[in-house]
Symmetry: C2
Subunit: 210 residues, 2 copies
């Protein structure tokens, strides 16, 4: 029977400029690793027909959201197109305490907020595109966009990329399977981090017969 | 052509009580990964017929060794059975600067000395046996040993094991191929550590067209 050391889960943050492959990598990781689940956010955005409350999002009123902000119930929260989004601390804690991991597909601002509240549980990975040519190609995919839209998108990408140094790990994604393996190695290694293996204290005690 | 980000090598320390499989894991890692080489120690021990100076050890006189100690030329040094052994800082630095990694098969005392001199380059992995029964079996393999020898060996193992909490990662080795994969994942992840990828600053500069 394999030796199971109890461990505390980790909060895996994956960020990147748009088009660098973050969503593909995140999806593949969720599919390949049953111990990782996506963080479910709380939002004030109206529920769409195909969405399930508690699965896609927790849908709440604006009043309830602001109340949760005041209660300190969020690890991070943000406003996007006038709608409020937040990561509920209690739901994440419940998963981590079970030794399961939570994946966050958020930007650098969300990552900064998480870092303030959950430093030790956090593993931050930044995905970079392989070259400027590839970045431009991805940003200009819709050829009909006027130059000012393209320029704004490029400025946004540059702004996002400039946050790379706030992350623990950086993956240059030139090949999805390779980048996926690298992301998996980061998860595997972080699970072996001594401080996350909270069962080691008891395990070693039995080992030395104390 | 793959994007090569210049990186600084890492100092991989693997420690364990005797019999936990450290040497097997270290050998397999050296065989499977051409970027990792073993640290070559300086010693005052007489050279054996099958040993090569500069490959197995750097063989020096006791006077020269003590001079190197005074010069601060060692990352760590120790005395074993009256012979002096030391890790030469300059040789290790040369390898790290090339973006290659160095493996150290040393005990917790050596690891403590390394930590004082090279904290940022260090990745410390501790290997534990899977159970007390297995540990006793390995320590008692030579059935003819008198009880006091067995007891001393057990006390030594307990002393070594009790240092587990000074390491960054802990692997419970119940299955060599599994433990080997875990060790490889740690190396792969640590190479993706932002601070070790020293070429990222220039890479990102080109990426954002600065």
């Amino acid at each position: 029977m394999p030796t199971a050391i109890a461990r505390r889960g980790l909060m895996l943050v994956v960020s990147s400029p748009s088009g660098a492959g973050k969503s593909t990598l995140a999806r593949r990781l969720l599919e390949s690793d049953p111990l990782i689940s996506m963080s479910v956010s709380v939002t004030t955005r109206p529920k769409r027909a195909n969405e399930v409350d508690g699965k896609d999002y927790f849908f709440v009123s604006r009043e309830r959201f602001e109340e949760m902000v005041r209660e300190g119930a969020f690890l991070e929260h943000a406003t996007v197109f006038g709608n409020r989004y937040g990561t509920p601390a209690a739901a994440v804690e419940k998963i981590l305490a079970k030794g399961r991991d939570v994946l966050f597909d958020i930007d650098w601002q969300g990552a900064q907020q998480l870092a303030q509240k959950a430093k030790d549980d956090l593993v931050r990975v930044f995905i970079l595109p392989p070259s400027r040519g590839e970045l431009e190609r991805r940003l200009n995919e819709r050829a009909a966009d006027p130059p000012e839209v393209v320029a704004r998108r490029m400025a946004e990408a540059n702004n996002e990329i400039s946050r790379w140094s706030e992350y623990d790990y950086v993956i240059v994604n030139e090949d999805i399977p390779k980048a996926q393996k690298q992301l998996e190695a980061i998860v595997a290694a972080e699970r072996l981090n001594r401080q996350r293996q909270i069962g080691l204290v008891d395990f070693v005690r039995r080992l030395i017969g104390a």
